[in-house]
């Protein structure tokens, strides 16, 4: 029966969609799948053959594409509603796997919040580990111009030269807060950009 084969093809597609949108609340997943099912059945206008179903599916987009559009829409809306750094970061993490830009934004946030934490932690630890915490320049030899930077706590302070002294405390606090704020703004910008792209079907 071509009708049964058509329906089987549709159900296979919808099962894939369901797998790709996992992570959304169950009720929303059911709603998305039921609506796509109705869409395809209306689109084929009663001729439920595998070919007709395939044509309707092709116009809707791949399960991955459908998932990206639907998840992005909801994640961006949720992050927009509460723009706290944590909820915005949560949105970026959620979208990291859905597009190349999503992955890029995620990596930038790891780097941004990572350096923010490093600055703040170094400033906080400095009073308790005077000799070992700070911003270090280390050279392999005294006349070696290739220097490497090291922020934080070192086990072997003799190998390098600590350049900020007590100033690491105010500088670390300001640099840490600035890096954190910039990362938060970047994440918010990224979510909005991904939202706009999804709305255009890209």
């Amino acid at each position: 029966m071509t009708r049964d084969a058509g329906l089987a093809h549709l159900d296979a597609y919808l099962a894939q969609v369901q797998r790709h949108v996992r992570g959304l609340p169950d009720a929303e997943v059911r709603e998305i799948v039921a609506e796509l099912r109705a869409h395809v059945l209306d689109k084929v206008e009663g001729r439920v053959s595998p070919a007709a179903v395939e044509a309707a599916i092709a116009e809707l987009g791949s399960p991955r594409e459908i998932a990206r559009l639907n998840i992005t829409e909801r994640v961006v809306a949720r992050a927009e509603a509460r723009r706290t750094p944590l909820s915005v970061l949560g949105g970026v993490v959620r979208l990291a796997g859905l597009s190349a830009y999503g992955l890029f934004a995620f990596l930038v946030s790891v780097l941004g919040y990572g350096s923010a934490l490093a600055f703040l932690a170094t400033a906080a630890v400095k009073p308790f580990a005077w000799d070992r915490a700070g911003l270090w320049i280390t050279r392999n030899a005294p006349d070696d111009y290739i220097a490497s930077w090291h922020l934080g706590i070192t086990d072997n302070p003799r190998l390098g030269h600590e350049i900020l002294g007590v100033w690491i405390i105010p500088i670390g606090i300001v640099a840490g807060l600035l890096a954190g704020w910039l990362t938060w703004r970047f994440n918010l910008f990224s979510l909005r950009l991904m939202g706009r792209r999804a709305r255009r079907g890209r």
Partner: protein, 124 residues
């Protein structure tokens, strides 16, 4: 963003597409003004009446967002077709928004028409 076509003709087509897409949410609200419709009907009327052929998969996230914003409501209706359909209708808030957006659109269009008027008479 990205340009799909090159050259002046491509720029013109791209500009027209952007222009239409900017009016997408107003067009959806206007289409729902006279009564409830399901997704595929909205897509068909967008294409036929506003020249807005959007990727089919994007209409449902858009309707979902409008629902979250309180502009539309949805209900599942058992249809003669043999499967239920999800119908969308305007909420009072959606009707208010549609009227406000239409007023903004008309004011902008009237202003622009004034600017464009000199272009008609001069064949240079």
């Amino acid at each position: 963003m990205g340009r799909d076509q090159d050259g002046p003709a491509g720029d013109l087509a791209g500009w027209e597409t952007q222009l239409r897409k900017g009016a997408l949410s107003l067009a959806v609200l206007a289409i729902l003004w006279s009564g409830r419709l399901y997704g595929l009907e909205i897509l068909k009327r967008l294409d036929a009446e506003a020249g807005l052929a959007i990727p089919e998969g994007t209409i449902y996230p858009l309707l979902n967002r409008m629902k979250a914003e309180g502009l539309v409501a949805s209900e599942w209706v058992e249809a003669d077709a043999g499967h239920p359909r999800k119908y969308y209708s305007l909420t009072p808030e959606g009707r208010r928004r549609a009227r406000d957006m239409a007023a903004g659109w008309r004011a902008f269009a009237a202003g622009l028409s004034g600017l464009l008027a000199p272009l008609d008479g001069d064949p240079r």
